[in-house]
Amino acid sequence: MMYFSYLFATGLTTGAIYALVALGIVVVYRATNVVNFAHGEMFMLAGFMAWSAHVTFGLSYLSALALAVLGAFVLSIVMYRYAFKPLMALRDPNPILLVMIGLSFVLKGAARDVWGGKGDYLTFPPLVSPEPMQFAGIMIMSQQLVVLVAALLVMAVLLLLLRYTRAGKFMQATADNAKAARLVGLRIDRVYMYTFGVGAAVAAISAVLMAPLTLLNPDMGFALFIKGFAAAVLGGLSSIAGAIVGGLILGVAEQMAAGYIETGLQEVAAFVVIVLVLIFIPNGLFGTKVARRV
């Protein structure tokens, strides 16, 4: 039983990581119908920016976090303006996907050039002391708890944002029907732009919180993106709560598969989840079925 509870608890904490990545993907998808393939690289760059701010330039943890969020926000706005916006008007989603793939490689290569010469991967000092804590008989790294709490907090903030603020309502309206939103005077362009910014900010916060656990290297973006996407798709790409639930389920599933079946399955669990979900429950657990517009 101890074995099971350990796996379960760890699954929740790694799942929280995936949930945070998934949140960034879902926030953008809801409003724009675009899955940002370069989301993982945004995450990775934010982590490196924070590292440089904190370790190289000696800024405080919170300043580094703020700088990373700002950097990611600006970068995503630039990417939106020059890469997404020209293609958003097309009915075809393929070009956007291809552009994002291209950009993700560019960002990865750039990160490798700037930070790659410093060794295999970079350590990031944790926010709280690294000693593990006891929690109902199970040892958890305090940083993992931080990530779990952060995931829930970010989700709560996003839900509140969408429901109760004007900006959130604009995003909701654009997601429902972009044409109608434009007709009632919403500046869709601005909404899209800020949505990307929010997605990038979520990625940056997650990256800085997770960096002590995941350690920074230029290739971490894609691996986390795939897991985040698996979690998002499981939860339903348009559901914020779904992203959290999906992430937690994925985390636990990975641990169980590795713990009870074979440790080699940890690597491939996310891919299997994607394939199974898309074949059997394409709208995920909480997503809404959208009728195809003809």
Partner: protein, 338 residues
């Protein structure tokens, strides 16, 4: 007569005749190797273009099917001693079978969903290649003997070049004939508007399966040739990196264009060598090329060629059909007025 000489067909004939002479030109081994890779990548680009450019299915499984072809022929030789000539069709069929299977999810999914589902499938395939050690030799890969071309008096390098040349030419003609037939038109109808196409009687399953099967076939042939050229089969050659290269090839060359596939397949190999020469980062160069072309020249470089040579624009019907179509209304008009 002059227009015939400048036609695309004539240009293609000249190009491939010149390619035939490469091994005899005295260029060193490095260039022969590059030329062989060019032919293989042209085949890959043709297959991918049929699926992505013409049929509009953005599937990420081409690199995996490429790998299945290579593993097929390689494992048959390694485990059972089956010679290359017998093992090759088996490898091709395996790739084609897997490709066709992917048509099923493609019926329900499109856009980013299809892309990521096929990507996940491709990663699972690579995982199997790496972990089914008893069969696939795992991540270390395995070597196969150089292909023996006896009783012909040519070495393995030259032999593989000519074999690739033959396959490339045959598959090029097949692609052109397919695109110019009703199959090609059905693909394009599917791509442009699936529901409208269905309402016009285009059978979704049949044509999607055909598009996937064809791209699997092409990828399988390329994979078999690749195993023969490298004399080595390993999982790293068939992952996401390879897939992105192939996508870049058709985007840069020109989607929905046979000539664009030839151009793209060639460029992808040539650009890699140029990047190697100047020590730039492959990741940055290819990522940037892919993004820039999609943003600013989505019709590819072949479009620039079309500006200069408008007669080279590819049609979806054969030249004979056009003449007959032109005659028919004229004849009808003639009847009415007569």
């Amino acid at each position: 007569m002059a227009s015939k000489l400048l036609s695309m067909r004539a240009a293609a004939v000249v190009l491939f005749a010149l390619l035939l002479l490469v091994p005899l030109s005295g260029l060193n081994q490095y260039y022969l190797y590059i030329a062989t890779l060019v032919l293989i990548h042209i085949i890959l680009a043709l297959g991918l273009n049929i699926l992505v450019g013409y049929a509009g299915q953005l599937a990420f499984a081409n690199a995996a099917m490429f790998g299945i072809g290579a593993y097929g022929v390689g494992l048959l030789q390694k485990h059972f001693g089956v010679p290359f000539w017998l093992g090759a069709p088996a490898g091709v069929l395996a790739a084609m079978a897997v490709g066709t299977m992917l048509a099923l999810p493609a019926l329900r999914l499109s856009g980013i969903y299809l892309a990521l589902a096929t990507l996940a499938f491709a990663q699972c395939t690579v995982w199997v290649m790496m972990h089914w050690i008893s069969v696939t030799y795992g991540a270390s890969g395995f070597t196969i003997k150089a292909i023996d071309f006896a009783p012909l008096p040519i070495g393995s390098d030259h032999g593989m070049y000519y074999l690739s040349w033959i396959c490339c030419v045959l598959l090029l003609v097949l692609a052109r004939n397919t695109i110019q037939s009703r199959i090609g038109r059905a693909f394009v109808a599917l791509r442009d508007h699936e529901i409208a196409a269905q309402s016009l009687g285009v059978n979704l399953l049949r044509y999607k399966a055909l598009a996937f099967a064809m791209s699997g076939f092409y990828a399988g042939v390329a994979g078999v040739l690749y195993a023969g050229v490298l004399s080595f089969v390993g999982p790293e050659s068939f992952g996401l990196h390879q897939m992105v290269l192939q996508l870049a090839a058709i985007v840069i060359g020109g989607t929905a264009s046979i000539a664009g596939s030839v151009l793209g397949g060639t460029l992808i190999v040539v650009i890699q060598e140029i990047v190697r020469e100047f020590k730039f980062s492959m990741e940055i160069v290819f990522g940037a090329l892919l993004a820039l072309f999609v943003l600013f020249k989505p019709t590819g470089l072949i479009d620039l060629v079309h500006l200069v040579r408008p007669g080279w624009r590819e049609k979806l019907h054969a030249a004979g059909d056009e003449a007959r179509a032109a005659e028919a209304p004229a004849a009808a008009a003639g009847e009415r007025t007569a």
